[in-house]
């Protein structure tokens, strides 16, 4: 299918169409040129120059910055932390959101209330969710400490600070992120489930299919486009995670949660090393592009290309 088709024949061509087209395209074109394409060029360029703390560009240094940064062990740590974070967040967000949507699918008295509750974490977008968990994760007075003690994972006098624990810090931040993403995941999958024609379930029921079979062979194929959209959206969100990290761990302990976006920010605006920040920017872009390509391959429906 082509985006615009070449069948513009039903539009009566008029004199002045070109002028109208120019005026219509211009705002979007100027916007993406000035704030996406130009800054991409200008920040990539920084990678090849000496840049002082104030951002003044000095002399050309070739690939020196690039090789310096690519050899840094902390870059590998950041990549690993980002990958781990994505793997912890994306599948859980999708599966749990879909499960909630299935649970709230069929009508029931009062179901509207449950739907609002299940969507509600969308209101804690970004750093708000992290703020809510700061209190729960408090080492001595937090509900998480109490919960761990109740199930015997923690001794009665032990305190626990998950956010400064080498192993658990990233899991804690991921859990917060999954919780705050559940609302959107639930809404997206609820919307997708509404789009599945009821008749399919009715005829499957007549054929004696059970719930799981229907889910597997009707629901999942029918909501596949939404699964694709949600996978891409949640993966990108997880790759670009920043707010929760800044509020909860600031990249620590020992770079364990120093994900790419956070390292980029730290290099560019804290350490005043914009050349390093520029290399991180390119790495981040390459990661996003690779993920995009991989997901397109996996999720693409047949007969569905979007060429113009």
């Amino acid at each position: 299918m082509s985006v615009a088709g070449d069948d513009v024949s039903l539009i009566v061509p008029r004199r002045g169409d070109r002028l109208v087209a120019a005026v219509f395209v211009l705002p979007a074109l100027v916007g993406v040129t000035v704030f996406v394409l130009f800054p991409f060029v200008s920040s990539t360029r920084l990678a090849f120059f000496r840049v002082d703390r104030f951002g003044h560009i000095g002399r050309y240094v070739g690939w020196a910055n690039v090789t310096r940064v690519l050899r840094l062990p902390e870059l590998r740590t950041s990549l690993a932390a980002t990958a781990k974070f994505v793997l912890l967040v994306t599948p859980a967000s999708l599966v749990l959101g879909l499960a909630l949507a299935v649970a709230a699918y069929r009508p029931l008295r009062g179901i509207a209330l449950f739907r609002v509750v299940f969507s509600s974490t969308i209101a804690t977008a970004g750093a708000l969710s992290a703020a809510l968990f700061v209190v729960l994760l408090a080492p001595t007075t937090g509900a998480v400490r109490y919960a761990l003690q109740s199930i015997g994972l923690l001794g009665p006098n032990e305190t626990i600070n998950l956010l400064s624990d080498n192993r658990w810090a990233i899991v804690a931040v991921a859990t917060v992120t999954v919780w705050s993403g559940l609302g959107l995941s639930f809404i997206l999958f609820s919307a997708a489930l509404q789009g599945v024609p009821e008749v399919l379930y009715e005829s499957a029921a007549l054929d004696g299919c059970n719930g799981w079979t229907m889910f597997r062979y009707i629901t999942v194929p029918m909501i596949r486009p939404m699964i694709g959209f949600a996978t891409i959206a949640f993966t990108l969100n997880a790759v670009l995670i920043f707010g929760q990290i800044d509020l909860l761990t600031k990249g620590g302990p020992g770079h364990r949660t120093d994900v790419l976006a956070y390292a980029l920010y730290h290099a560019s605006f804290r350490d005043g090393d914009q050349a390093k920040g520029a290399v991180y920017s390119v790495v981040l872009l390459v990661v996003c592009l690779l993920l995009g390509v991989i997901q397109m391959r996996f999720l693409r429906r047949r007969h569905d290309d979007d060429s113009l």
Binding site: V8, S9, I122
Partner: protein, 280 residues
């Protein structure tokens, strides 16, 4: 034919569903509830352990301080204005461009379309350094334009709307043109109403995206009076007001605007996303 045992089975089934849904709802609400209790906890119970499930001697100091000294209302207004401007900007620029790409013939149509759409795959964080330098160069630090102008156009928006616009029946447009409508009128009276679900979905996603922005405002805004919700919560958690109950109260207050919008538009939201995002 329904028999009595059918009725009973359904009632038992419904009861089971209520138990499951209720349990899930409690898990989802637990963090908010515990914070609500914490927000009304008097200072003398600050170190109470285990954390109380029911507030003793509740008082509203946390909320009062969050509002008076923490300026959370100001942050809400700022976020609302900024997110609304970004949403309107993205919808308008995307509608105009998508209309031209779908219905008008002009030189460079394909190239320009791909230039704009390609920009959608570039995450803002990857160009944040360049944008920061632009804002510094424009002397826009600490201003509302810094928060809004970089986001008024959206490659993803153009892509989404172009896919929706091409499904608008050409006959409708031809008829409107014969009735004497110019392109602006066709866009407003024919194309936009038909593509409304997709436009609504775009608006929802733009608004949410704008509302959750954290890093960019943190970089370009310093002045308290121009801070947004996300920066406000960061400020509260950095302990400038140094109290968990203020942090809890602030987080709850700052979550309210989106919650109210959600409750008001729940049904339209689901319907808009169904029709707008993936179906065609």
């Amino acid at each position: 034919m329904t028999t009595r045992s059918d009725h009973r089975r359904r009632r038992v089934g419904n009861a089971a569903r209520y138990v499951v849904l209720g349990g899930l709802a409690m898990i989802m609400l637990a963090p908010v509830y515990l914070n609500a209790v914490n927000a009304v906890l008097p200072i003398k119970y600050r170190f109470a352990y285990p954390p109380p499930l029911i507030p003793h001697e509740p008082q509203l100091d946390g909320f009062r301080i969050a509002i008076t000294q923490g300026s959370v209302l100001r942050y809400m207004v700022n976020s609302f204005v900024v997110s609304s401007l970004i949403t309107v900007g993205q919808v308008v620029t995307s509608c105009l461009a998508a209309y031209a790409f779908t219905f008008l013939r002009f030189p460079g149509r394909k190239t320009l379309f791909w230039v704009i759409v390609a920009s959608a795959v570039v995450p803002f964080e990857a160009v944040i350094l360049g944008n920061y330098r632009t804002i510094v160069w424009l002397h826009w630090l600490d201003s509302y334009p810094a928060l809004t102008v970089p986001f008024l156009a959206s490659g993803a928006g153009v892509f989404l709307l172009t896919r929706a616009f091409r499904l608008v029946p050409r006959e409708l447009i031809g008829a409107a043109q014969i009735d004497g409508c110019g392109h602006t009128a066709v866009l407003r009276n024919v194309v936009m109403p038909v593509a409304r679900p997709t436009i609504a979905a775009l608006a929802v996603l733009s608004f949410l995206g704008a509302w959750s922005q954290y890093l960019w405002p943190k970089l370009v805004i310093n002045e308290t009076s121009r801070r947004t919700v996300q920066m406000g919560i960061a400020q509260l958690s950095n302990g400038e007001l140094n109290s968990f109950s203020v942090l809890s109260a602030g987080a709850i207050l700052l979550s309210l605007p989106l919650l109210i919008i959600l409750i008001m538009f729940q049904r339209q939201l689901v319907r808009g996303l169904t029709a707008g995002l993936v179906d065609r």
